[in-house]
């Protein structure tokens, strides 16, 4: 898979490039700022871009804007945004109306190499990777009339993994249960929350996140 990296810290940029090359990715471009990334995205056929949210010149929202622009201009290209802080508001801006081919992870996550590589692969393939902190923030949210209270502890775990973008297989592996059991839990959760079941695994991410946010 062909990927580009936009990260202004040399240390991290080279670390990321090494990590991804070792994992078998073709690192086509290593960019210092958002402008360079956008140029590379236009001139190369990329499967995914990994973007630091804080990029030069102002280190404000250049990275986020570049990610949103790539999502707009290159719908087939996955975008994984890395940040030293994850914010619910930013996640919602990034997702906008679809969770397909989007990732938003705390930067720390790159050190868990197998997990991180899996996230990049998922995003490049059109799936999602939402940081668990976002999901737990949403789950911990106080509600006056809480439908989450009706979920069993196991269903809670499944919901959490589902919201981060895990596939059914991923959930089964993480919880060490069968794929069939996962499917049963998923349909039970959708029933209890009153959500229409959507076929695609990435589409259900947005549905769950929006439900939790409301």
């Amino acid at each position: 898979m062909r990927v580009a990296i936009a990260e202004d810290s040399v240390l991290l940029r080279e670390g990321l490039a090494r990590l991804l090359s070792d994992a078998g990715f073709d690192v086509v471009a290593q960019c210092e700022d958002a402008e360079e990334l956008l140029r590379k995205a236009n001139s190369h056929e990329l499967d995914a871009a990994i973007v630091d949210i804080r990029l030069p010149p102002t280190h404000n929202d250049e990275g986020l804007r570049a990610a949103i622009e790539i999502r707009d201009q290159h719908p087939s290209m996955g975008v994984l945004v890395l940040s030293q802080y994850v914010e619910l508001g930013l996640a919602m801006r990034l997702l906008a109306d679809s969770a397909e081919g989007v990732g938003y992870l705390l930067k720390d996550r790159i050190s868990d190499i197998p997990e991180f590589v899996a996230a990049v692969e998922r995003v490049a393939a059109g799936g999602s990777a939402i940081d668990p902190i976002i999901v737990s923030t949403l789950l911990s949210r106080r509600r006056s009339d809480d439908p989450l209270a009706t979920l069993t502890p196991r269903e809670h775990e499944v919901l959490e993994l589902m919201a981060t973008g895990s596939s059914n297989q991923g959930i089964a592996d993480a919880l060490v249960i069968t794929l069939r059991a996962v499917e049963k839990y998923v349909s039970s959760i959708f029933g209890k929350l009153g959500l229409p079941s959507t076929g695609s695994e990435s589409r259900r991410v947005l549905a769950v996140l929006l439900f939790l946010r409301s």
């Binding site: 991290l12 090494r18 929202d61 914010e87 801006r93 790159i110 190499i113 923030t137 949210r141």
Partner: protein, 588 residues
Amino acid sequence: MAASAAPRNIRLQGAPLAPWPRLLWAVGLAGLAAAIATFALALTSDHVPEQGLQAALVDWITVPYILGGLVAWWRRPDSRFGPLMIAAGFAMFVSTLQWASAPLPYTIGLAFDLLPVAVLIHVFLAFPSGRLERDTERAVVAAGYSVAAGLQLVKMLLGGVGTENLLAAAAAPTAANAVQDVQLVTLSALALTSFALLVARRRTSGRPLRRSVALLIDSFALGLVMIAALMLAGALELSAFETIRRITFVVIGIAPVAFLIALLDARLARSAVGDLVVELDADPAPTDLRDALSRALGDPSLTLAYWLPEFESWADFDGRAVELPTHDNGRATTLIDREGVHLAALVHNPSLGDEPERLDAVSAAAGIALENGRLHVDLRARLEELKGSRGRVIEAGQHERQRLERNLHDGAQQRLIALSLELGLLKERLVGQPDAMSRLDQARGEIALSLEELRDVARGIHPAVVSGHGLGVALESLAAQAPVPVRLAVDLDARVQERIEVAAYYVVSESLANVGKHAEASSVSVDVARANGSLVVEVVDDGVGGADSERGSGLRGLADRVEALGGRLRVWTPRGGGTRVRAEIPCA
């Protein structure tokens, strides 16, 4: 209309520079002698028809100008107008020396023949200060003197007037006549120009003149018209010349009388000061004196500035620095001093300069009140200064916090992540060494904890998400993490200044933290919107209310932050009635 180049000064203490009384007496006696000498010259003359009438006409001008000049000099020692009037009177007298039969006085008198015209134009244009304020006026007067005196010498050198003329160096009567025609026509034109200048000045003054001053200026204008007519009649050698001359003399003699009336009326005008004193007495609190002074001076455009010695600047009643007008923007300035230092400045319509007595009297009456006003303004200015410095301190603090947060983000946090990544890469090579792998995981766990702590520290130092992405995005996480359900409504179409956003962020975060700690609320609403040029933040809970003092101290810090930005923080917390925190921060 141009104002005086230098502001006029009123000293509230210490006597003004009065002219030496003996000098006034000496000038008066000289004037008397001149008046008598005029008659003596006329009556002994061998070439003056109707001697008595001619002498009376000349004295009709000489005496009132010298007398009026003396009174003016005595009453308004600051003004040069008095001496100028006296000069006009004596110039008139000197020109009568041409009645003498002896060649020397005759020649001197001839040389001064037209000079009174130039001096009179000077007098009329120089009212009331005695100074010519504008270049056009200066040019007219200079031209008047050179034509009346300079060309007169040329004419006399050419032998143009009489046989007894000691200066005659040639006998060229035709050329001399031509010079005289030039003189008369030019002086006529200069008189008309001066008339136009007077009329224009009066039209553009924009402030109604006191009736006596209006009368005075009308008499000046009429005098100028008559001078113009007289000069023209002389050039055309009209038969009515002598009649016009007599009328002109009478008219010119009226001007000093009008001047004396205006001077007397100005003393009467001081009664307007009585109303001012009553008004100031009625309200001893320091108020802006502008309105009262404006009424007392009859100048609606009046502005008042107070001198702040500490800041070495002028300030308005709210303590904001103001600039006094420079002399080319149509305003005049009168400085009011006390014990040698400035107290206040009146910036007024230049036509008020016509009534210096009124300005003096009003300023004197307002003295104590002005001093009070100045103290008040001084206090306000210090308060403004304090506000400004508090704002700067908070701003500097915020910059420093922002810098620290950026340093943490780019430094320690970035390095720890890189280190953790390095350990992750190392772990990939340790397959088959479970002991080493688990110790490595432990190390990575420690780094993850450090990063989390650093993140909390960094967030506490400065909410970078606010700077990076705005208030709406930042508040979403705050609302989601709040201990009670939050209804969040952010209605902003664009970013506002960062320091305002940061202050608003802290208002919401502190308020939500308070709700969690004390309010026992079941829901909170957070509303952020722009209204009337302010960012309005309102956090309302349905809890127990009655915020205690501990809760108050956190709010105090918030209030400081909000007030430093010129805003206001208010808290309503009735017992049992929930708590409402409302911050309004002015934003451009």
